[in-house]
């Protein structure tokens, strides 16, 4: 084995001068970042600087690392994706106070996940690039171009927000801090989510409008209840590593491992047949329809079912339209069912269009409550109380569909029995099939 000697590079900066205004703190902050990366002897090809919009968003062009310059406030999301896909990368986000406002939820979530990225907020208390408008960190009373009579909003405490929500390292300071490079280095060494809220002077706008100076900065922080220093530090599993650890044992064939449904029966259909079951959500209507489809497939038929239900899932109606057919057929709505099973009043409420379209060739099975329904179809009233034992609500769909199959005989009942016995709740499903068959004997 031969040892590879890596010579640390002298600078991560390009030769280009920064584009920032005279006296702006952004340049010094980036110089401290450069010093931190030199100190850590990082490989620039393994570093990605992620930035977004505003003056801070110009930063990444002045480094020799890789870069992702994206949309306002979303830098944390890109950084999360970059780190999740390749945890070996050192990912540094540079954003402004504008980005923390528009992307506040992303910062909170990144902190909660403890994703291993380092966020540097260049916080100059206003929007510098677009004309000195107020931001989420503008102090109360602050004069900006959009708060000409003084800011009425309370400033966002970025550090507290991410600190109480799981961040691993949270620091507040300013571009003038002598140890800022060390703080950046410590943050980058931290495996989890690190954020540094670094205040600086916007000489173009905020300084001029508010007589805000270096001398008053630290005092202002304290007077606004935002202490400087290392504010939060926490040891917890970093997300991208934690994800891999948690899923290391998840193996096996993904969904592609299809299992063909065994075919052991023949059917009697020479054209598509449609069955509609109209019941209530939570009544396993869709499961019943699925079992009838699977019985059909076990008999060599094709099948397709289209379900309709409200967004509440467990309340309201549940209607399942099922086609079984001797050949493959396109997906279409059932307008005139061969068989309609009404198993609850919720279902009856949705059955009108079907009942109106059905003719004497067609069959309606209904619970006694709706025996007076109006239709041209033949109607069979099935009373669940006549069954040998009480029929649970969750079996009604399968009971009535089994009864319908026993009457119309498109495929052998044994195929349905096989389907019912093959999956979950086999015992209850098999009982429902027998109950349904018995109801029409």
């Amino acid at each position: 084995m031969s040892a590879i000697t890596i010579t640390p590079i002298a600078t991560f900066r390009t030769d280009d001068p920064y584009p920032f205004c005279p006296g702006c703190g952004h340049g010094p902050i980036l110089d401290r970042l450069n010093e931190a990366m030199i100190k850590l002897e990082l490989d620039p090809t393994k570093v990605v600087i992620v930035s977004d919009i505003g003056c801070s968003g110009l930063s990444d062009q002045y480094f020799v690392t890789s870069a992702f310059h994206g949309l306002h406030g979303r830098s944390t999301t890109y950084a999360t994706g970059i780190k999740l896909a390749n945890p070996d990368l050192e990912v540094v986000v540079i954003m402004g106070d504008g980005g923390t406002g528009i992307g506040g939820t992303h910062l909170i979530s990144a902190a909660r996940r403890n994703i291993g990225i380092t966020v540097i907020v260049m916080n100059n208390l206003n929007f510098g690039m677009t004309g000195g408008q107020h931001s989420t960190t503008t102090p109360e009373g602050g004069i900006t171009s959009t708060t000409p009579f003084g800011n009425l909003e309370h400033p966002l405490d970025i550090c507290a927000t991410v600190g109480v929500n799981g961040a691993a390292y949270v620091y507040r300071g300013s571009s003038f801090d002598s140890d800022l490079a060390d703080r950046f280095a410590a943050a980058m060494m931290k495996p989890g989510f690190a954020l540094l809220d670094v205040w600086d002077l916007c000489t173009a706008y905020y300084v001029r409008s508010n007589k805000f100076t270096r001398a008053g900065m630290e005092e202002s922080m304290r007077s606004w209840g935002m202490e400087p220093g290392l504010l939060y530090e926490r040891e917890a599993a970093e997300y991208s590593a934690g994800y891999r650890l948690a899923h290391a044992a998840i193996t096996g064939s993904p969904v592609a491992g299809a299992h063909p449904i065994p075919v052991g029966f023949t059917h009697a259909l020479d054209r598509p047949m449609s069955l509609v079951v109209a019941g209530s959500a939570g009544g396993k209507v869709r499961s019943a329809s699925r079992l009838v489809a699977l019985g059909g497939i076990r008999s060599g038929l094709w099948a397709a079912q289209r379900d309709d239900y409200p967004v509440t899932v467990k309340s309201g109606h549940s209607v399942s339209e099922l086609w079984i057919a001797p050949g493959e057929m396109p997906l279409t709505a059932v307008t005139r069912p061969d068989v309609l099973a009404i198993i609850s009043s919720d279902g009856y409420g949705k059955a009108g269009p079907y009942l109106g379209a059905m003719t004497s060739d067609d069959l309606v099975l209904t619970i006694p409550e709706h025996s007076d329904l109006e239709t041209q179809a033949r109607v069979a009233v099935l009373d669940p109380k006549s069954a040998e034992s009480r029929i649970p609500k969750t079996s009604m769909g399968l009971v009535y569909l089994s009864a319908a199959l026993a009457i119309t005989n498109p495929y052998p009942l044994d195929a349905l029995r096989e389907a019912a016995g093959a999956g979950s709740f086999a015992e209850a499903n098999l009982a429902a099939v027998e109950t349904g068959v018995a109801l029409v004997e």
């Binding site: 110009l58 310059h69 949309l71 994706g81 992303h106 379900d307 279409t332």
Partner: protein, 390 residues
């Protein structure tokens, strides 16, 4: 035993089984087909946010992608989810996200970023009835223009539309291929019914041993637009020398520029790389009858009733052609022009008030275009299309 009635108005059969081979079928929905297609196409990153009727894809990807060594995550919102996909794609992952109309609204700015930064990304839009929250469990085809024009600038994207469960699989695979080939967002425009309807399908064993490795390079500039339709292989963070990415107008090194010549070349490239290669993208399922004066042009879930209506009309002796559009954008103009030759009536059923038929009208050049439209959450029926053709 009762005998089933005959002679009813029912959907046509695509093909009756005549052989005695035991069929190998399973019963799956479009959601499962999309997830399989993604995994088989080499998808290694998924981020999404719950929304009916697309949540099934999110839940399935959370379970399945770890099995192939990938990462799936539920973002804090749709904006974060697509942002994570873009970052992951630049780290070398093949990325996918899935949502419905309200989520596409939130994706809007990032769709633009994917176009500008030339990021391969597959976006599944499981359409539901809009506008706004609309009907979460209700079908519609109202996003057909929205996905095409859903971000600022007017630059092209690719949009595919399956019309069945098997196509939900094959067009998802195709979406990944096109996203890689053209380095752009590719939409799969499906809907509540196609995603959630269970269908018997023949077991597809064609997906084995697909080469899914990304064609990438590890050195040099991330972009090139000389010639204008050139598509440079992707770079990947952490491999080779450092490189840049930006959503601003930029040069081939992704350095921000306002140089008019460079800006013009970049923007023309974003259009030319797709427009000059429409033949690689345009897809239709054409079922034409010589001499027919009427054609039904459909797409997505509505193609089911359209195909059935055409079969029924033919069984009644009425010659009518059918064309199902599979690549909605770019519009398959060549195939449409060929299909319109000798036709004087074009019937366009869609679950909106004519959003795609306006495109058909442009190509139809004066021929009668008859819409069959529905926006109440129901599917267009076979009868409605038959009536429009007659």
């Amino acid at each position: 035993m009762e005998v089933l009635p005959t002679g009813r108005a029912v959907p046509s059969l695509v093909g009756m089984i005549t052989n005695t081979e035991v069929p190998r079928r399973e019963y799956v929905d479009g959601t499962t087909a999309i997830v399989r297609g993604a995994i088989d196409a080499g998808c290694t990153f998924f981020a999404g946010y719950p929304i009916t009727p697309a949540s099934g894809i999110l839940m399935s990807m959370m379970r399945e992608i770890p099995k192939v060594g990938g990462v799936a995550i539920q973002g804090e919102d749709e904006i974060a989810s697509i942002g994570m996909c873009l970052g992951a794609a630049m780290s070398g992952a093949k990325a996918m996200t899935a949502t419905s109309g309200p989520g596409i609204s939130l994706y809007s700015e990032s769709i633009g970023l994917a176009i500008m930064g030339e990021v391969p990304l597959v976006i599944i839009d499981v359409q539901r009835l809009g506008p706004a929250t609309g009907g979460a469990t209700t079908v519609a085809q109202g996003d057909v223009q929205f996905v095409r024009w859903g971000t600022g600038g007017g630059y092209p994207v690719i949009v595919l539309a399956p019309s069945s469960v098997p196509e939900s699989y094959s067009l998802t695979v195709k979406a990944f291929e096109l996203a890689e080939r053209f380095r752009c967002p590719v939409f799969l425009l499906t809907d509540k019914e196609l995603a959630m309807t269970l269908s018997a399908v023949d077991v597809d064993e064609s997906a084995i041993a697909r080469d899914t490795a990304r064609q990438e390079k590890h050195e040099g500039l991330p972009y090139s637009w000389e010639p204008a339709d050139a598509v440079e292989p992707m770079r990947r963070y952490g491999e080779g020398d450092a490189f840049r990415f930006t959503g601003s107008t930029h040069d081939e090194g992704a350095y921000i520029t306002k140089n008019a010549a460079k800006v013009g070349a970049l923007n023309e490239h974003l259009i030319a790389k797709i427009e000059a290669h429409r033949d690689e993208i345009e897809m239709v399922d054409a079922d034409l009858v010589a001499g027919a004066d009427t054609i039904v042009v459909s797409y997505g879930v509505t193609a089911g009733a359209a195909r059935a209506a055409v079969t029924r009309l033919r069984s009644e002796g009425i010659g009518v052609s059918s064309l199902v559009v599979q690549s909605l954008w770019p519009i398959p103009e060549t195939a449409l022009n060929e299909a319109f030759d000798g036709v004087d009536r074009i019937v366009v059923p869609e679950l909106n008030m004519g959003l795609y038929s306006r495109e058909i009208e442009r190509i139809a050049a004066g021929r009668a275009v008859i819409g069959v439209n529905r926006i109440d959450g129901g599917l267009i029926t076979i009868d409605e299309i038959v009536e429009a053709v007659r």
